[in-house]
């Protein structure tokens, strides 16, 4: 059985059940039950139409559950008398599912878990393994999320921003295990992009594709973090970059710029350079100016802008740009250390790298900064 194909179908099946008046939690449970049945029967008895099979099987699960529920008997009989609707996937149903899973009433971790389950079609066990928590914990997280949603009305299209944030969170959750969350996020975002013509969706898709295309070069054989400027660009997935750039260009042509499009434009400019020296830094600074505007002057964005300014205009201007960013901004120390290293002030650089390493939030980043500190310290002792 093709697991990837199954994951494509699941949101549509939940959508059909919801249209028939089944509440979200029940629909979601019924589809998971039907998938379990599919696992045992499909290998020997493959269906002609997998989507129709799953709709029928899930619908039976719903009806079975309703039958065993005395209080709901009359409503269930009324529903049963209705003729079965056409089995045509309705795109709007699936879109609503995205909004539901990224509902603002849910915490980030709950929204991520629910999206992975209902939209991406992953099992609870797979989601739990990807997050390194016990399956019971994840099962409870998902069922609490569903309880939270009960009684909440479906949301307005304005919440697309929340949907995109949840998808980006999933992308950033990291890689590994039997489920690749970055790949899942790309797959789901790609699907969302086919359901809506909002340019920010295409912008996020482009951003993910271009970042993910560099994955093979981001760490070396020993698992060490390799900075962008030192990456082996022959390892970059050029067809995936092209795909991302194409999605980005289509989005930009709509002339409704958003922060994901701006970030994707920056990523695309990096991806476009054959060597680090060929990077078009002035144009990157231009995009950062847009991004500063779009993100209400976020300190993290201004810090990144300072790096671009330094590369485009030299360390002197860089120092000024950096001094305008609060020193408690994440990674400020690492940027300052790099700047001092560029200026030949190795002793300061070594100290700042070491402090930045202590403040790092990931082991890969911490180890990378420790190596930078060691490099600066060695240069410092050579320089006397």
């Amino acid at each position: 059985m093709d697991e990837a194909r199954l994951r494509e179908i699941v949101p549509g099946v939940i959508g059909v059940l919801e249209r028939r008046g089944v509440d979200f939690a029940t629909a979601e449970d019924a589809v998971q039950d039907a998938l379990v049945s599919a696992l045992s029967s499909w290998p020997t008895d493959p269906p002609r139409d997998e989507f129709a099979w799953l709709v029928t099987a899930s619908w039976r699960k719903v009806v079975d559950a309703a039958r065993s529920d005395q209080a709901r008997r009359r409503r269930e009989e009324a529903v049963e008398r209705e003729p079965a609707p056409e089995l045509v996937p309705d795109e709007d149903d699936t879109l609503q599912l995205y909004f539901r899973c990224a509902h603002p009433a849910l915490s980030s971790s709950a929204a991520v878990a629910l999206t992975l389950r209902a939209v991406a079609g992953l099992t609870t066990a797979q989601i739990a393994r990807a997050h390194l928590v016990p399956e019971a914990t994840m099962a409870q997280r998902i069922s609490r999320a569903k309880r939270t949603l009960r009684g909440h009305r479906l949301d307005r299209p304005g919440d697309l921003a929340t949907v995109l944030r949840v998808l980006y969170l999933i992308f950033n959750e990291g890689y590994g295990g039997d489920v690749d969350l970055a790949a899942e996020a790309i797959r789901v975002t790609c699907r969302l992009a086919s359901l809506t013509d909002e340019p920010e969706v295409a912008g996020l898709l482009a951003l993910m594709l271009i970042h993910d295309a560099r994955r093979a070069s981001r760490t070396d054989a020993q698992g060490r973090l390799v900075p962008l400027g030192e990456q082996d660009r022959s390892l970059w997935n050029t067809s995936q970059i092209a795909e991302g750039v194409e999605a980005l260009q289509a989005a930009l042509a709509r002339d409704r710029l958003g922060e994901y499009q701006a970030q994707a434009a920056i990523a695309a400019l990096h991806a476009d350079a054959r060597t680090a020296d060929e990077t078009d830094w002035p144009q990157i600074v231009g995009w950062y100016d847009e991004l500063v505007r779009l993100t209400a002057d976020s300190a993290v964005v201004r810090l990144n802008r300072a790096v671009a300014v330094g590369e485009a205009d030299g360390p002197a201007l860089w120092l000024r740009a950096l001094s305008e960013v609060p020193a408690d901004t994440p990674r400020w120390l690492a940027v300052s250390a790099y700047l001092h290293e560029q200026r030949g002030e190795f002793a300061v650089a070594a100290t700042e790298y070491a402090d930045a390493a202590d403040a790092a939030t990931s082991t890969a980043e911490r180890d990378h900064l420790r190596r930078c500190a060691a490099r600066a310290r060695a240069a410092s002792s050579l320089g006397g």
């Binding site: 971790s109 016990p134 994840m138 409870q140 993290v300 671009a308």
Partner: protein, 138 residues
Amino acid sequence: MKYLMLKHYRGAPAGVNDHPMDEWTQDEIDAHIAYMNDFATKLTGTGEYVDGQALAPKGAWVQYDGEGKPPVVDGPFAETKDLIAGWMIIDVDSWDRAVELAGELSAAPGKGGRPIHERLEVRPFLTSAPDDPQNCHG
């Protein structure tokens, strides 16, 4: 975001209701353990529980002592050394939530059924991947 809550036998600043457990009554001990178990069960229910274990006080510091020599063993732990009694790992949405839960755990009943007010150490986990690839120019 995962956090480690560390409980110390020794080494943490003294709590308010600070009496060694061997001075407690059996009922007080039972109440304390029940509180801890309920706490873990509750966190499983909210999807925030990851793992928890208790450690025996017995243990030692072990150190490499050079080629061909057996490792140096100092211990069981000397009287003055910090001693971890156990840990709980939680997966929560924010630092504030982690602090709130640690506060709740610190209110476990002790001698006289009153909260022990013990100090718990709360530490964020390092993740294996950088949290945001966008922030990586350097």
